[in-house]
């Protein structure tokens, strides 16, 4: 991972592929955002995207129950953009190539699950995916929300 430019701030966290780890991700993200003075309205949006993506990795990236490390990196750039990078060694998964699920018309036919990527696509300003050394590396970019709603 390249060193962040001067004036930028970044932080890293490694969690394992277990659902209780999600609370650590939220706490870490919120603490970093608070220290970095990020706009308050951006924090729950970033938190939500992190929850959805890490939950997907925990639930779907691995064939067995073996323990894997999921790496997270937050970076605030000088231009005000904030990036959340998530890296895992699970099966290849490019969320940019996932077709959007059609909305259900009724309670009976609604599919239970499969909303995570749609939520991330809606709230993130940009997504970048790369498969590097048998690892998925997804970068989620959030722009400074200068009062403009999503």
């Amino acid at each position: 991972m390249a060193a962040p430019p001067m004036g930028a701030s970044s932080a890293s966290l490694v969690v394992s592929n277990k659902l209780p780890e999600l609370s650590r991700v939220s706490a870490w993200l919120e603490a970093w955002a608070r220290e970095g003075g990020l706009p308050a309205m951006l924090v729950p949006i970033m938190d939500l995207c992190a929850m959805e993506l890490v939950t997907n990795i925990i639930n779907y990236a691995y064939d067995t129950d073996s323990v894997h490390a999921i790496g997270l990196n937050l970076c605030k750039n000088e231009d005000g953009r904030v990036s959340l990078e998530i890296e895992d060694d699970g099966r290849p998964f490019d969320p940019l190539r996932t077709a959007a699920e059609p909305s259900a018309k009724s309670l009976e036919e609604a599919r239970i699950g499969g909303w995570g990527i749609g939520i991330v696509r809606h709230f993130a300003d940009e997504l970048q995916y790369r498969r590097v050394d048998a690892r998925n590396r997804l970068t989620v970019i959030f722009r400074h929300p200068d009062g403009t709603p999503h």
Partner: protein, 118 residues
């Protein structure tokens, strides 16, 4: 994480959830919510005004319980979601299958109305 049940007129149960509906939050309320919806005809109004955060796992809980209610001739509606939560309900299309209200009277009326097609 908290879950309070209040009996309203017309046999409606107002279930006020307080806290984040994420993985940890859902675990805390899942059993109590399921107990309210299981194997009986109930009209449940989920008050989301104290829920600042709704993740997929929380949507799954709402949808699963709404479906169980429907199977027993009951209904679910959602009341007063905060802005971010409402946006999530919109993006995922949930608001088209579990109605969302910002007014208690309207929500109660909708819950008591006969189900479409029945």
């Amino acid at each position: 994480m908290d879950l309070q049940v209040q009996q309203l007129d017309g046999g409606i149960e107002r279930v006020t959830i307080s806290g984040r509906l994420d993985s940890a939050g859902v675990q805390e309320i899942d059993h109590r919510l399921s107990a309210l919806t299981a194997a009986r005809q109930a009209f449940v109004l989920i008050d989301l005004s104290q829920v600042p955060f709704l993740a997929s796992i929380g949507i799954r809980t709402l949808l699963t319980n709404a479906r169980v209610l429907r199977q027993h001739g009951g209904k679910m509606a959602l009341l007063n979601p905060q802005a971010l939560v409402e946006e999530v309900l919109k993006v995922t299309g949930i608001e088209t299958i579990i109605p969302v209200f910002h007014d208690l009277e309207a929500a109660s009326a909708a819950l008591k109305a006969p189900a479409a097609g029945s």
